[in-house]
């Protein structure tokens, strides 16, 4: 793959910083991670020549390095997403989605990047519930390169939705699926959207929709009616049965500032595992208390909470879609809570539970 004639360049988002004792820090600006290598001075200066038009051979000669040694180093640095092939970089620069590709380039070597993005584009994001969080997720995903969607919701846009969702006053009275699909197509006319204007009543219906996608579905649950528990149970049931990854975006206990769990069926803790753990931990001192039943509640909500919750779910869908161990989902076996007053994120571990029986092997 990498030959003396190869033209690689130091990725523009990577900073190369000299440290003591011949060590060099490579700082990946996109993801703010750094790696340190001890490199001979002449090899380091050869890396500093990789400007996108100089071959490895040429850079080695310019800095009086051994070409074979430099090729070995270049392989490692390319594998570590610090160098990239110039021809790939040129194609990326032409793409309207170059920022997404450059971002993924912090995790995937440049020669694998375009294939990974193709995999992502083949995935269908199945979004259950198109309220505040759902409308944000769909939009964030289309801006991340997703082109295939199934949108599921039976609701119509009401004025009271407008404070936190991405609908506008022009959408009031339209069905949410139609309004959102229209907006998505205006961003990318090539988007394929299947609108399912119905309330997700049971797992069979969802499993049927997923089955047609032949393993390319990722489900996101953003539906909270009648409750997040109820809709998540349906999603869990359908996804476990069809071996489909899913992301819980909404929130437990009626909070929308929650970052839900990501589930890879048979491999990681599922929603029900999490529920078991949360029920045990719940309220510690509220245990043994009766809760006053409060039907039809109207809980406060506002747009930054919806957008922030959605941003994590969209991140997770992206990571699942790329399907690569170097950029795995980050919400496996845990959930998070974003404190809107302090801006802090707190995570709770939700391990797989034997008694749930979902994880095998």
């Amino acid at each position: 793959m990498i030959t003396p004639e190869s033209i690689l360049r130091l990725r523009p988002s990577v900073a190369m910083v000299p440290m003591e004792d011949g060590r060099w820090q490579f700082f990946q600006g996109n993801t703010r991670r750094s790696r340190v290598f001890r490199i001979k001075p002449e090899l380091a200066s050869a890396v500093g020549c990789l400007n996108g038009s100089t071959s490895l051979d040429c850079a080695a000669k310019l800095s009086h390095s051994d070409v074979m040694q430099f090729m070995e180093l270049a392989k490692i640095l390319h594998e570590g997403c610090l160098l990239e092939f110039a021809d790939v970089a040129e194609r990326i620069a032409e793409s309207p989605l170059r920022r997404v590709l450059n971002f993924l380039g912090d995790y995937l070597p440049s020669n694998e990047l375009e294939n990974a993005f193709r995999r992502l584009k083949e995935k269908t994001a199945v979004i259950v519930g198109l309220g505040g969080v759902g409308s944000w997720i769909a939009t964030e995903l289309i801006h991340s390169g997703f082109q295939k969607f199934i949108l599921i919701d039976d609701d119509q846009v009401e004025t009271s939705n407008l404070n936190r969702s991405l609908y506008s006053q022009l959408d009031v009275g339209k069905s949410k699926v139609a309004a959102l699909a229209e907006r998505m197509r205006s961003i990318n006319p090539k988007t394929f959207i299947q609108c399912v204007e119905e309330r997700l009543a049971n797992a069979t219906r969802l499993a049927h929709l997923i089955a047609e996608l032949q393993g390319n579905a990722i489900v996101v649950n953003c539906a909270d009616s009648p409750s997040v528990d109820a809709t998540s149970a349906i999603v869990d049931d359908a996804c476990q049965g069809t071996n489909t990854p899913y992301v819980i975006a909404g929130g437990y206990n009626l909070h929308l500032s929650l970052i839900g769990v990501t589930v890879l069926p048979k491999q990681t803790a599922c929603y029900q595992c999490g529920r078991l753990t949360l029920e045990e931990a719940q309220g510690d001192d509220l245990i043994g208390m009766r809760k006053l039943a409060r039907p039809w509640r109207n809980i406060g909500n506002l747009v930054p909470l919806a957008a922030i919750t959605a941003s994590f779910a969209a991140n997770e869908v992206l990571r699942v879609a790329v399907s690569d161990h170097r950029i795995p989902p980050a919400m496996i076996n845990r959930r998070g809570e974003f404190n809107f007053l302090t801006g802090e994120i707190h995570f709770v571990s939700l391990p797989p539970r034997d008694e749930c029986g979902c994880v095998r092997g």
């Binding site: 360049r9 993924l104 004025t159 407008l162 404070n163 009766r290 809980i299 969209a314």
Partner: protein, 368 residues
């Protein structure tokens, strides 16, 4: 007692232990109030559904538990009102706002009630938001998502400043642009203002297609009655434009939100500068100059790096959400208003934050 039809409001969970201990859990803030009360008062909580007048309710209580119970019930209601646990059921329909604002902000008013405690405070906070005048520099990846959220929060007066034209890549990261906007190659500010006007007809928005440079006469872009300035412009360089704007803001005591440019599209969280309260942009600049003085990368071999940076819409939306929260907290007066920045690390979603203090010797803000 000023409430006629007491309603145990939606944002409070009620837990009961035994027959005389009640816990009110505020969903938005997780605040908890515990009270020991007579068992009949706990039973009476179930009556507070907002559909019965307080006289009729207390009459029922008196009938069941005697005349003394009536007074105890009334003082219990007094207590619940003070604590913001009961409200008038339709309080948010009597805010004095126009019908559209009321309908749109119903859920947010519930939220503000949760955080601020009483309907009066919630309404006053929303009014402040509706009346505030904002000037936003830069309407790109982060600026547009922030604007979209500020519109959701109910802000209605904007001036947008951006001298750039739309290109194809902008559509894939912008909150307002559509594929069909590329061919026209209009000014970002103008097109954004048109879209906002179209989607939110009661918003007043003005576009100014001018660059932000040392030559800029800020007085021509920023009216004297501006309540908040937002810097989401990344050109020529956010550190530079922020210092420029911050000096202007400090001298006029206008708060400045720095949101964008320095990798906000990668999940970096900016700061709200409140003159005299938080560090100013010069304090930040000095802080970073010192903190990073030993960190000197080699000159990058690739000269043209403009199109090579990464970014995700979800990270822009996160940074915009965090910035919108800061703006909201400023306008509703919920601190703390500390100096500092944060970075969301994508790999594990660890939110790294660090504090920055005001510099006692700052040449710009130390005299405030």
């Amino acid at each position: 007692m000023t409430i006629f039809r007491p309603f145990l409001r939606d944002g409070v969970d009620v837990y009961v232990r035994g027959d005389d201990e009640v816990h009110f859990v505020f969903l938005a803030t997780r605040k908890r109030i515990t009270a020991k009360v007579k068992p009949f008062l706990i039973q009476a909580l179930a009556l507070l559904e907002g559909n019965e007048h307080v006289d009729s309710l207390s009459g029922r209580v008196a009938q069941l538990h005697g005349v003394d119970a009536r007074d105890q019930f009334i003082s219990f209601l007094d207590y619940l009102e003070q604590k913001g646990i009961i409200v008038e059921p339709d309080w948010y329909a009597h805010t004095g706002f126009d019908e559209a604002t009321n309908a749109r902000q119903e859920r947010q008013l519930s939220f503000l009630l949760d955080v601020l405690g009483t309907p009066d405070k919630a309404i006053a906070a929303q009014r402040k938001i509706c009346e505030a005048r904002l000037v936003c520099f830069g309407v790109g990846a982060v600026g547009s998502w922030l604007l979209r959220q500020l519109l959701g929060l109910g802000f209605k007066h904007f001036i947008l400043v951006d001298h750039d034209h739309i290109d194809a890549a902008d559509v894939s990261r912008h909150a307002f642009f559509e594929a069909s906007d590329v061919a026209m190659s209009g000014f970002k500010a103008t097109v954004t203002a048109e879209k906002i006007q179209h989607q939110f007809s009661d918003v007043d928005v003005v576009a100014k297609c001018e660059p932000l440079t040392t030559e800029t006469i800020l007085e021509t872009l920023i009216p004297f009655d501006t309540d908040l300035i937002i810097n989401a412009a990344d050109e020529p360089y956010i550190g530079y434009t922020s210092v420029l704007l911050s000096r202007y803001c400090v001298s006029r005591r206008i708060p400045l939100l720095v949101a964008g440019g320095f990798n906000a599209h990668l999940g970096s969280l900016g700061e709200l500068i409140i003159p005299g309260v938080t560090p100013c942009a010069d304090c930040y600049a000095d802080y970073f100059q010192e903190a990073l003085k030993d960190w000197v990368p080699i000159e990058h071999p690739v000269a043209e790096r403009l199109h090579a940076s990464g970014g995700l819409c979800s990270l822009s939306a996160f940074a915009a959400g965090s910035a919108a929260m800061k703006v909201l907290r400023y306008f509703i007066g919920v601190g703390p208003f500390d100096g500092g920045r944060g970075e969301l690390l994508f790999t594990n979603y660890h939110l790294e934050t660090f504090k920055v203090e005001r510099r006692p010797d700052c040449r710009v803000c130390s005299t405030l």
